[in-house]
Amino acid sequence: MFRNYVFITFLLSHVTFNGNNKKYNWRNPKTDKGIFPLLPHYFKITGLVTTLLVLITILLVNNISAPFKRMTLINEIHYDSNLVGLSLVSFSKDKHEDKRIANLRLRSLSFSIGLLILLFVFQPLLELVVQFFFTGNDHEDGVYGGFYMFLIALFSTRNIYFCKFKAYL
């Protein structure tokens, strides 16, 4: 469970480590690759599409087709591919990379780490709540349902935080 949280927080926080030396300067986006280079802008669309597709397939597999429910391997694969889609969104560039967006990434990282700690501390309580909402027979089902619930919640909060800066355009 903790592994999941670590994954989510680091995927959703748009982190770049911009080296501030003469050779790689943030002022010149063409030469600036940073320590951790970001993907091109169009990967945002690709990531969103894959995430949506995977979410739909997971919902279909979990709710409609009962025989698939037994096969935990399929669920695992879907779960991992969702992480890939989200990471594509998270680690792709904005249209114009500048210091403001770097600042935003840093702040969202601090936000997500705070949330990570909260989730880790209140994990037993959360699992109880999740089992209440997702009335699966397995314990595992409830946990995964909750995982997706919080994944969506985290993703939306990140975007709200991001859109606050784009609201007055």
Partner: protein
Amino acid sequence: MIINTVHVQLAILRMTQAALSELIGVSRQSINSIENNRYVPSTILALKIAKVFKVPVEELFELEEED
């Protein structure tokens, strides 16, 4: 935060935020955030904006009284 007169200077030159952002080499959202006092620009950016408007930086950005 700091008080700024970027919107006044833009109006004087009849310039859009997009045009200014292209001249400086930042995103349009950055200029908008600076105008609405949501983001304090770095010294480099402030100097660049002042250079475009051909005014001293003190005319563009002022400290608030509590600072």
